[in-house]
């Protein structure tokens, strides 16, 4: 393994303020695989690409640039565990790099605030950094193979698209996350419309829960059809969506039809590395994780 790399850890809103258990699993697992995290003190909302960007694009660009400027000052690239934040930073960087007048506009907004910004720091999704370590190296960390566990992998949208501004292979059939899941010994089970949206983005979750839930349910039904033990994600907002949608829909139905545990990637990897469920925050889920944990061989 290469020597430890240090990143400025960008938390965003949903992860620290609604799903700190995911944050915990990231903080525990990443250093164990050679990724050091430094706090990005004073960071804010990214801001949300489908919400704040929809109301005032210049505000979105300025706030995103402020967060990037904080990382630039720290001398690191940003690392995030949310597809939405990732999308915001990738798009905001592209905008100011392609349009120098937009960079000037941002610098003008920063005047007198002691913020230097040259769009020098990159933004990485933690799954990108994990994948770069290599499947072989990561496999060496597995001490408790999750044999027999059937996983429904959900990539999410902003991790992959717009594909022109993403680091992945140009394909509509990505496999990197499936590879990362399978190195734990679990099986990534194919299901219908795997690359479909979770339904949370664009402000739909907040303003139209029935439509948002209905999109999530379509995916959950497709996963249930192939008998997954859990849905795996790499985005705090997709994670929220699958947890909250199941709870809300069950309530409407008056029966607990949807009970698929929702697992973040570092929680799965941590389990395979032999970590305890409390260290991975697996005891704090809305949809109980026990049925899935029971399937893992001791």
């Amino acid at each position: 393994m290469t020597e430890a790399q240090t990143y400025s850890f960008f938390l965003g809103c949903v992860m620290p303020n609604r799903f700190p258990n995911i944050e915990k699993s990231i903080r525990v697992v990443l250093p164990k695989i050679g990724i050091e995290l430094e706090e990005l003190e004073g960071a804010s909302c990214c801001p949300a690409p489908g919400v704040i960007r929809s109301f005032s694009e210049p505000t979105w660009l300025a706030i995103a640039s402020r967060n990037l400027a904080l990382a630039e000052k720290a001398g690191h690239d940003i690392i995030t565990g949310c597809n939405g934040c990732y999308g915001t930073f990738k798009e905001a960087l592209l905008e100011v790099r392609e349009h120098p007048d937009r960079l000037k506009e941002v610098q003008k907004v920063f005047k007198g605030l002691g913020l230097k910004y040259k769009a020098k720091a990159e933004a990485k999704h933690l799954i990108e950094v994990i994948y770069d370590i290599g499947i072989e190296e990561l496999t060496k960390k597995v001490t408790r193979p999750l044999t027999g566990l059937k996983v429904g992998v959900h990539y999410g949208c902003h991790l992959l698209k717009p594909s022109k501004n993403r680091p992945w292979k140009q394909t509509e059939r990505h496999t990197f996350l499936d590879e990362l899941v399978e190195l734990t010994g679990a099986e990534s089970v194919p299901y219908k419309d795997k690359f479909m949206c979770c339904g949370a983005g664009g402000g739909v979750r907040g303003s139209n829960a029935p439509v948002s839930n209905d999109i999530a349910v379509e995916k959950l039904d497709n996963m249930m059809d192939v008998g997954v033990d859990c849905v795996l994600n790499v985005c705090s907002f997709c994670h929220l969506q699958f947890e909250v949608a199941q709870a809300q829909v069950n309530k409407e139905l008056g029966e607990k039809k949807y009970q698929i545990p929702v697992i973040y990637y570092t929680q799965l990897l941590g389990l395979a590395m032999g970590l305890e469920l409390e260290e991975l925050g697996l005891h704090q889920h809305m949809i109980k994780t026990q049925p899935m944990l029971d399937k893992i061989p001791e």
Partner: protein, 170 residues
């Protein structure tokens, strides 16, 4: 008949959706849209109305807010139109005209006040402590000076005025 505003599409082009005029109305965007599958929202129709200059109708329609910004249409459009960007541009214009949804106004108010669209609450403070994390994350939530800077930025970009204007209108 609604007033036709020919400058509408020019504004959209200028704001970045530069290929929108090349739309051939093939409907690919609608056919891949996860929202369109279950609502009356039709991406192709939205683009057509924009091209026809039906500004009022487009900006006042709640359908404009049904896009989940999944970027699937943008990836699949045979004319490489930045469809999602065009929608975001039109949403900016709608917000400017006071057509924001109440839930979106509330999230914006939270951002203005706390620096987070989703701020910390009591239940999650407790969760954080029980996990051995700092009770409050090391974000603007823990740094008042950083929050003040952020507020200055939101004043300078006009966000504060934009949101307070919507509040006043309701």
């Amino acid at each position: 008949m609604e007033k036709v505003d020919h400058a509408f599409v020019d504004e959209i082009v200028k704001a970045g959706a530069d290929r929108i005029r090349t739309c051939i109305q093939c409907g690919t965007c609608s056919s891949v849209c996860p929202s369109g599958r279950r609502t009356a929202f039709r991406t192709r129709e939205l683009i057509r109305k924009a091209l026809l200059g039906l500004k009022e109708e487009v900006l006042s329609s709640p359908n404009l807010w049904l896009c989940a910004t999944c970027h699937t249409c943008l990836e699949r459009c045979p004319r490489q139109i930045k469809v999602t960007d065009a929608i975001i541009i039109m949403r900016n214009m709608a917000a400017e005209k006071g057509f924001m949804l109440p839930e979106h106004r509330r999230a914006s108010m939270k951002l203005l006040e706390t620096g987070h669209a989703v701020p910390i609450n009591t239940a999650n403070r407790e969760k954080r402590v029980s996990l051995g994390l700092d009770e409050v994350p090391p974000t603007v939530h823990s740094h008042k000076d950083a929050l003040d800077d952020l507020k200055t930025i939101m004043e300078r970009t006009g966000f504060k005025d934009l949101i307070e204007k919507q509040e006043a209108e309701k």
